[in-house]
């Protein structure tokens, strides 16, 4: 440091009190997060790398070293990516429609988004099995209309899985995008137009960048939900599409291998964290 020691300005009492108050308010949430969230995660990491003979990476070697478990990781990623892309494609235009709607139409549309959130995921996934099974509503209707003669196999296919996942996770994509679109000042589009931007150019250069924060929030939410979904793949596709989530459940509940389950959990968490961190980075404002 410098050789001339200037008398440090005495911190005023009010600043100290402000800091103390802020710290006091933050303390309860910090304790809850640290005790109930961070600590278990550390324990989970510990369980995954500590075997009977001390430090071991055998669980991770099993996950990344066998074709079957690489396939499991791939299945989870595939479910997450497909669900996220399809919900995004549906949600982006839907958010604009929702933001433009007025009065009763808007209320009804918002209600159709919020009400399904009140129903349990199990109920919704089970509803899809009723709709899609061989003697289900969809097949019965198609046969009755004479479009098909024999029932099409829909349940327990990847299509059924993705359709169900998209339906169940859709509100988590629409709501954050809608929140941004509804706040978007219509003057931005008008300013772009008067500056010479055609509607397509204005959309690409102004509207998309300005709604990106909503898209990123939606992508982070839906991806982390669908990549770790357990109920949806269990009910809609079952054994033949093992995911990281179903693998964790099996490791704990059937195989009694907590170390392996914990390792799969850490991998799943890492994937979700990477995607969320990447999207947060993309959404940053220009420096």
């Amino acid at each position: 440091m410098t050789d001339v020691a200037l008398p440090a300005p005495a911190p005023t009492a009010s600043v100290d009190r402000e800091r103390l108050t802020a710290f006091g308010f933050a303390l309860p949430s910090f304790l809850i997060l640290a005790g109930l969230f961070a600590l278990p995660l550390v324990l989970l990491l510990g369980v995954s790398v500590i075997g009977p003979d001390g430090l071991t990476f055998v669980n991770y070697r099993r996950l990344f070293g066998t074709a079957f478990y690489l396939g499991v990781i791939w299945n989870s990623l595939r479910l997450g990516v497909l669900t996220t892309l399809i919900t995004l494609a549906i949600s982006y235009p839907a958010s604009f429609a929702l933001a433009r709607a007025r009065g009763a139409v808007r209320s009804v549309l918002l209600a159709t988004l919020f009400l399904p959130l009140a129903a349990s995921v199990i109920v919704k996934a089970f509803a899809w099995t009723i709709l899609l099974r061989s003697d289900g509503v969809v097949n019965a209707t198609l046969i009755a209309l004479g479009i098909i003669e024999d029932p099409i196999r829909m349940i327990f296919t990847e299509t059924a899985l993705v359709v169900g996942a998209v339906n169940i996770f859709l509100p988590f994509m629409i709501l954050p995008i809608y929140a941004v679109v509804a706040q978007l000042d219509p003057r931005y589009a008008e300013a772009a137009a008067t500056l010479g931007a055609s509607p397509v150019t204005a959309f690409c250069r102004v509207i998309v960048p300005l709604t990106l924060p909503g898209v990123i929030a939606g992508v982070a939410l839906v991806f982390s939900l669908s990549v770790s979904a357990y109920v949806v793949p269990t009910l809609l596709i079952g054994e033949k599409y093992p995911t990281l989530a179903t693998t964790i459940a099996k490791a704990y509940l059937l195989a009694r291998e907590p170390g392996f389950g914990a390792a799969a959990g850490v991998v799943l968490l890492t994937i979700a964290i990477i995607v969320v961190a990447l999207s947060a980075r993309l959404g940053r404002e220009p420096a």
Binding site: Y188, E190, A192, A193, L195, R205, L212, E285
Partner: protein
């Protein structure tokens, strides 16, 4: 670069929103290099007229012409207009320079040319040093300048300002009025301002269009607007005045005699005898006097308000009529409250308008 040929023409433009007529057969012609203000209260249609010129609103009937072509059906992005919005509508995801460059980029202008134009536009608004800043890091006054630079950079045929200064605080607004007018004159821009602020209108413009209920009540130079208002609305909206209602008793040679509750007054104008009118004069025309001449009214001083270079004196003339006189610092004695005084003003500076029918 003043050119007398019409540059912007609005012909017979009407616009309705549901049952409300927002623009009622508007005609307006603006020359190249002219600065025109649309002045009026909220809801008078001034912003809608600006939006029709910008192409952001479609008129139900009528035509808009700019720089020699009919642009009525041309979408805004092909009109070559520049708009400065009240909220500025600067793109928050772009830097200052990015905002200014936007119009040129979407026009496909070359990179070297863009950076030159951006430099020029930012220099014009004295923000050259802030090109790399984020919009959120600017003050309101700086954002206003960026919005102006962004609109000017594309060299539009006409610049449109929608209450562009109203978000600034008063002192900054007054500075910007003078600076903006000089800047626009320097670059030879044709501009339309929309405002409800009469000071802004008088300061900024070559001509002012006073709008009321979707119509232009008067289109005149600021000085003429003030000294020769065309209607009671224009009189009330711009500047202060004394207004006394009465009935016309005689009318000849462009002069009317009006019987009022404070005596007989004369004014310029011609009305039929028996017409209900309002007689009005600007406050600086009223002078304390000792003699009784034409247009002399006596009364008791109700209030005296000192405003620096001028003093406003309100006189209670009885029968509910009030006179407003403005005395400059050079006037000798300022009357005191409750003092009895006599005020006189020239007939040539007295207006008569038809009294507005009241329900």
């Amino acid at each position: 670069m003043s050119d007398s040929a019409p540059h912007l023409t609005v012909r017979n433009v009407s616009k309705r929103f549901g049952a409300t007529t927002v623009l009622d057969r508007i005609d307006l012609t603006i020359r190249r290099g002219e600065l025109v203000t649309l002045l009026g209260p909220s809801g008078c249609g001034k912003t809608t007229l600006l939006r029709v010129v910008a192409g952001l609103a479609q008129p139900d009937q009528g035509h808009v012409g700019l720089a020699g072509r009919d642009i009525t059906a041309v979408p805004p992005h092909r009109r070559n207009v520049g708009v400065v919005f009240q909220s500025y509508a600067l793109f928050p995801h772009l830097t200052v320079a990015g905002n200014v460059a936007f119009g040129l980029k979407v026009r496909g202008v070359g990179k070297a040319e863009i950076s030159k134009a951006v430099e020029r536009a930012l220099a014009l608004v004295k923000l050259s040093h802030l090109g790399a800043r984020r919009i959120s890091a600017l003050s309101g006054g700086q954002q206003q300048r960026v919005a102006l630079a962004r609109a000017i950079a594309v060299e539009p045929d006409v610049l449109l300002f929608d209450e562009a200064l109203s978000a600034l605080d008063r002192k900054l607004r007054e500075e910007m009025q003078v600076e903006l007018r000089r800047l626009l004159q320097d670059v030879g821009a044709t501009a339309i301002f929309v405002t409800h602020d009469q000071d802004e209108a008088l300061t900024m413009s070559d001509r002012v269009a006073v709008m009321n209920k979707g119509r232009i009540e008067q289109l005149a130079a600021p000085r003429e607007l003030y000294s020769r208002p065309a209607s009671l609305f224009a009189l009330n909206f711009v500047g202060l005045s004394t207004r006394i209602s009465g009935v016309v008793v005689d009318s000849k040679d462009g002069k009317v005699d009006v019987e009022t509750r404070v005596g007989r007054l004369s004014a310029t104008g011609s009305f039929q005898a028996g017409a209900a009118v309002v007689v009005a004069a600007r406050p600086e025309q009223l002078r304390p006097t000792a003699t009784v001449d034409e247009n002399t009214v006596a009364g008791r001083v109700h209030s005296v308000v000192f405003q620096g270079s001028r003093t406003l004196v309100e006189v209670d003339a009885g029968a509910g009529e009030r006179l407003l006189a403005e005395l400059s610092g050079r006037d000798a004695a300022t009357p005191r409250v409750n003092e009895e005084i006599r005020l006189a003003w020239p007939v040539s500076e007295t207006f008569a308008f038809p009294a507005e029918a009241r329900a």
